[in-house]
Amino acid sequence: MNGTRLFQSAPAALVTAVALCLPFLAPDFMLFEFSIAVCYGIAILGLNLLLGFSGQICLAQGALFGIGAYATAILNVNFGMDPIATLPFAAIITSLIGVLIGLPALRLQGLQLAIVTFGVASAFPQLLLKMDWITGGVTGLATDQPLAPKWFPGSQELWLYGLSLICAAISVFMLRRLLRGDTGRLMRALRDNPLIAESLGVNLTKARLAAFAASSALAGLGGGLFCILNGFISPQSFLPMKSIDILIGGIVGGITSMAGAFIGAVFIVFVPGWTTDINPALGGLIYGLCLIAMMMVARQGIAGLPIGRSLQALGGIFNKKDLSRVPGPLPGQLGGE
Amino acid sequence: MNILTVRDLCAGYGATDVLHKVSFTVEQGSIVALLGANGAGKTTILRALSGLLPSRGLVEFGGTDLRQCSPARRVELGLAQIPQGRGTFGDFTVEENLAIGAYTINSKRQIKEDMERWYTAFPRLAERRRQQSGNLSGGEQQMLALARALMSRPKLLMCDEPSLGLAPAITEQIFEIFKSLNHDHGMTLLVVEQNADLTLQFAHTAYVLEAGDITVSGPASDLLRNEAVQQSYLGV
């Protein structure tokens, strides 16, 4: 499936609509959690780019997320930058580090890459502790929170939520541009068949590194945003399980769907909490069962569920223009030679 | 007497059927050829008969209805198949390939005897018994695949394009082996082939499959003379 067309599908419309309606429906504390979900969603977008569109599994996404968060915090604390202004830097710095991690990926295959990157994720909290002169060690770093300007009518949470949505919108927009362009085509060729792609003269190195750079930039942006939202970060927030959670979010949502990234993010932010609400002692147990049952039912992720597909069909009815652009036989020609 | 009766067999991949109600019979002790163009569904028939694909329709083998039988049970009943392409286990040695071919045989003595027998028949395999079968040449692999299938003492041996990628001389050799298996041991053979000319000289009966349907059938000698068959498959 084509990445750009996926975005126009029904799950995307649904996710956008829900995201815009939330401020009117959800209380402030929920809004905060949704903002957190949005920043995970941005990181998951990055993971999807790697996994769904170029077929590489990176389990260091949580660490990259952490690097973005620490970039924002350090730039704010040590250099006095405005937190929001640090976000592009967080993305760029993380992107550079991501490319470094991506370099070995040029030679590693799926499973090996997954395990090596998971090692990176496991070492990350230790590294943070070790570099305590800049990261603050166990105590972590506290950052300024960007306060809502006076003219803003809503609450502080709403302001932060808006900020998150803007970041998400920018990410989606950039990603779409990327996937539509030449690099996107390269990456898809890479996923579908690296050997053939290479023999056709696709520059594998370039495509893979581009995928890593873009994916890490998104993780960094998400992480920076996470830092701003929380106002405080410590190594405790970036344990290896975070990378696993992000992977779970990506796959549960559906790895080739942008809307799925945000659905998956909501899943990993809320479902563990709910299962603990059901029964504090059995929370993890229910969450584990949820994951298993979920994937046994929705093998392509939530965004790939029949409901999603039928909504997509509905979307097609309302969006006639789109239909005529779909390649393939016209209805009258079906079956005829 | 028919050892295999297939009636109205339908099978395919996913939602679409490749075979549309195929019916044919294989007589005990005969060599039957199954001819057809690429993509006609020959391999699909064999896969369905071995139980690798779900199918509909009647398949009766030696008086047993195969529909309830698992693939493993079918082998136990005496149905063996040499699949298309490399039918060997590449990271096994030659000897291990033969041993696994005799998986359904319980008598150690019989396995040993059979192994010696096929080593005598295929001296090249005997020389290479400790070698990884993945490193054998194409022809040697085909022989190994054949020997492996024979280790299960089949009543009906189905071969999917045994001549694929082999030199004419080796192909001929393999067909000679088929002939002697049939003649000396009374084994029934169902051979899928592209090399129609050669196959029809060896076979007793032949069927032509076109797009999932049997279109021509009859004694092999008749088919050799059939104009339509000549045009499509014999390149006359």
Binding site: L51, G55, I57, P104, R107, L108, Q109, G110, L111, Q112, A114, I115, V116, F118, G119, V120, S122, A123, Q126, L127, K130, P240, L247, I248, I251, I255, L282, G283, G284, L285, Y287, G288, L289, L291, I292, M295, M296, R299, Q300 | S50, G51, L52, S70, P71, A72, V75, E76, A80, Q81, P83, G87, T88, F89, D91, F92, I100, Y103, T104, R148, S152
Partner: protein, 293 residues
């Protein structure tokens, strides 16, 4: 020099533990091309059960025997209930499912036995020998011995028995195996069962060194993953050698590389794995058939 040999011995002993869990992972991977992220936690559950039986007064050996068999059944059950239904699903789906197993079994232990650490019954004789100043403990020796027996048994089963041959065949190609009359699904099931038992053995080896806790196998899982990767995912021998390499590298590196030290020791297996993969992309003993996840 004495320190070096001391670290070498210690490293081999921990390496043996990584190797045994890696063996379990590789066994499953060979058979079903799945990496079972839940393997370590399933082993933890088994270890807890063994501990519980001992607490209730059963002799240690008997309870280990019972739990070894029960672990086998657990592996079989997990395969039948969870893995078989999704055998045709995309790999990502299966990854999440095994991660789900991980979460599930960890929480199960947490729920049943709480988070407090428990002392695992000591199985190996205490004491040891001083050889030229290097202390060789009896338990380290026993751990290595157990691993060697395990590896030898597995090797013999795979090479010389019909069952082992059939399991290898199923791992090589399910279709060709069906054609020679092997009940492939049963073999895969057995593979999961054996893997669970081997995982239990790994947990038994760790138990006395650490305390029992629901998360005790987590670091071991990471090391075992690294071992399997550097050894080559489809090679039991690779898992064995890989585990020992990782163990030794970790023990030596943590002491001799000052900037790494004890806190960053987790970096070492990854670095070693990376270096080996850069030299030999399929791992030390892997064959090139392993393509994607």
């Amino acid at each position: 020099m004495v320190l070096f040999f001391q670290l070498l011995i210690d490293g081999l002993a921990s390496g043996a533990i990584y190797a045994s869990l890696a063996l379990a992972l590789v066994l499953i991977f060979r058979a079903t091309r799945i990496v079972n992220f839940g393997q370590g936690e399933m082993a933890t559950l088994s270890a807890y059960c063994a501990w519980q039986l001992c607490e209730w007064g059963l002799p240690v050996a008997l309870s280990f025997l019972i739990v070894g068999a029960a672990s086998f059944l657990l592996g079989v059950f997990v395969f039948r209930a969870v893995i078989k239904p999704v055998s045709k699903a995309p790999v990502e789906t299966i990854v999440v499912i095994t991660l789900g197993l991980f979460v599930f079994f960890q929480s199960l232990c947490l729920w049943l036995w709480r988070a407090d650490q428990r002392a695992f019954p000591a199985m190996f004789p205490s004491g040891g020998w001083d050889i030229l100043g290097v202390r060789v403990t009896a338990s380290a020796l026993c751990i290595l011995l157990v691993l060697l027996c395990l590896a030898a048994t597995m090797g013999a089963i795979f090479r010389f028995t019909r069952l082992g041959l059939a399991m290898r065949a199923s791992a090589y190609s399910s279709e060709k195996s069906l054609l020679v009359g092997i009940r492939v699904e049963r073999m895969l099931m057995l593979g999961w069962g054996f893997a669970a038992t081997i995982g239990f053995i790994a947990a038994v080896l760790v138990g006395p060194r650490l305390f029992l806790s629901p998360t005790m196998m987590l670091p071991i899982l990471l090391y075992a993953l690294a071992s399997a990767t550097l050894g080559g995912w489809d090679s039991p021998l690779g898992a064995l050698v890989g585990g020992l390499i990782v163990g030794v590298a970790e023990s030596l590196g943590a002491t001799f590389l000052p900037f790494i030290g004890a806190d960053l020791r987790v970096v070492i297996p990854i670095a070693v794995t990376l270096v080996i993969l850069l030299v030999r992309p399929v791992g030390l003993f892997g064959s090139s058939t392993v393509v994607k996840v």
